[in-house]
Amino acid sequence: MTLELRNVIKRAGAETHIYETSLKLREDGFNILLGTTLSGKTSLMQLMAGLERPADGEIWFDGKNVTKVPVQKRNVSMVHQQFINYPNFSVFENIASPLRVARLPRAEIKARVGQVAELLRLSPMLDRRPSELSGGQQQRTALARALVKDADVVLLDEPLANLDYKLREELRDELPKLFRDRGCTVVYATSEPTEALLLGGHTATLNEGRITQFGETAKVYRQPMDLISAAVFSDPPINSAAVTKQGDRFVLNDRVSWRAGESQRTLSDGSYVVAIRPHHITPVDHGANAVRIDGKVLVTELSGSESVVHFEVDGRTWISQSHGIHAFHVGDQASFYIDTGRCMYFGQDNERLAA
């Protein structure tokens, strides 16, 4: 079953939430919508579900135009960021609710709920009410409701965002397994680049109501087509700065320069934009491709296994992310090393030029 958006536009009053967008979703693995809050993830999902009608464009499902088909008749299911369950129903009744609406025989409802509950490890809690469950169990119940229906399209709108770290990891591991071989299209919205990478599948990067790129998750990460896609798919934020190409060298801030790589040799002299992921700027000189850059330390964040340092060079803030503990004092001058072999170059129009 394939879900396809053709030139859809979504407006709310005078505001445009989704600019003209076309997208053909995949059935194998997750379709991840990656973008910050208000980038349009939820709006896109509401269009896919049929909760909202597009102002223009069409939605095709399995070779049929379903643009005007209301949500109840589309056989979709959705899991929200908030834990949405019927407050006065037991877990069993909650999971059974879509089947009851569909008027399935009692025995079948019981069997299917039992099966899904087993899968989501909810079997011991079937008699409890949502308010008596932990956050993780509440979200499992919501997931079970989405699963039990055998929907053609499953929409997961940041389902793990309200869970604590441990539960999030646990459920994130389970999710792809739960939906494997079900023959449904799964769409997963998230604002965390790491989550997209961990879930794999395909990713669409969203920015201000536009899909900037759609493709295999790893590929979108490694080869962003433009600066915006690269920025969306980077946490901490990607570093970008103007560079000039002079002969076979790139010059940054009139001071730092490095030899252009094999694929950039052919670029003509002129101004470009370089983007460097924070983990390609480290406090350690790692040899051949490294170029030193000096700046004033603004912020340091040390977690157990990595250090994130914000530093300022000529009025611009740079971010370095490195393994291990690298302690700096705020206000000190410090040296960082850019891995020039990993730099990405974009034209003045922010289109990517070469790897």
Binding site: L51, M78, Q81, I84, Y86, P87, P98, A142
Partner: protein, 288 residues
Amino acid sequence: MAAKTHNPKAWLFVLPVVILVAFNALIPLMTVVNYSVQETFGDNVFFWEGVGWFEQVLHSERFHASLLRQLTFTGIILAIEVPLGVAIALTMPKKGPWVSVCLVFMAMPLLIPWNVVGAMWNIFALPDLGLLGRAINGMGIDYNFTQQPGSAWFTTILMDVWHWTSLVVLLAYAGLRSIPDAYYQAAKIDGASSWAVFRHIQLPKMKRVLTIAILLRFMDSFMIYTEPFVLTGGGPGNSTTFLSIDLVKIALGQFDLGPAAAMSLIYFLIVLLLSWIFYTLMMRNEAQ
């Protein structure tokens, strides 16, 4: 770590509240208690009466009649105002410029002083001059709230519904607004009917505010005084003499301070008891 738990200076911080509560609650209450167990003929001369006044009040048919009237009135207005308030809240817009218009419109009756409400309805319902009174009589129904107990009850209830349904509306509306949109979306995806949405999402989510609304309306209506006093003065006859009106008649009309004080305390205990029962029942329901 050993902490010093005793610090007499802490009392200083509590003192303002203690003084305030003493003046506006404890001292008046104790004065009433004082009157309820004694007989006085003025000049600060008191005679010990024991529980005599309490026995007299509890056995008086007049008190029973007032109490029955009060319970009936409160029961009727709760049965009307709570469902009506919820229904109005459900029809109010969720967003847009009309929200504030509706809210202001709804809050209007609540802002009118109680005696003004009574006076307004008194004039409104006059059979010969008032719009309501003339309209009802014009339809061929004999209506005169100053002479017929039925008409008086009808007018009093209508007035209370007009005055206080807004409170239920505002509380219910606040409860409805606190339900995330995602619930409605989930219900839509399930294909749930609007009755199911009301019964299984909106009503359970409104339970807490409705508990408060019912409690407030119960207590307020049980202590209603000003509006019926201005509207009917408790009449015709005794037909709309609710507990508080009766109490004032005994205390200030007949100057029977002892029985009035005893009745005040009984009245207070009834309100407290019924509120407690209400609250416990509703909270137990919640816990299930």
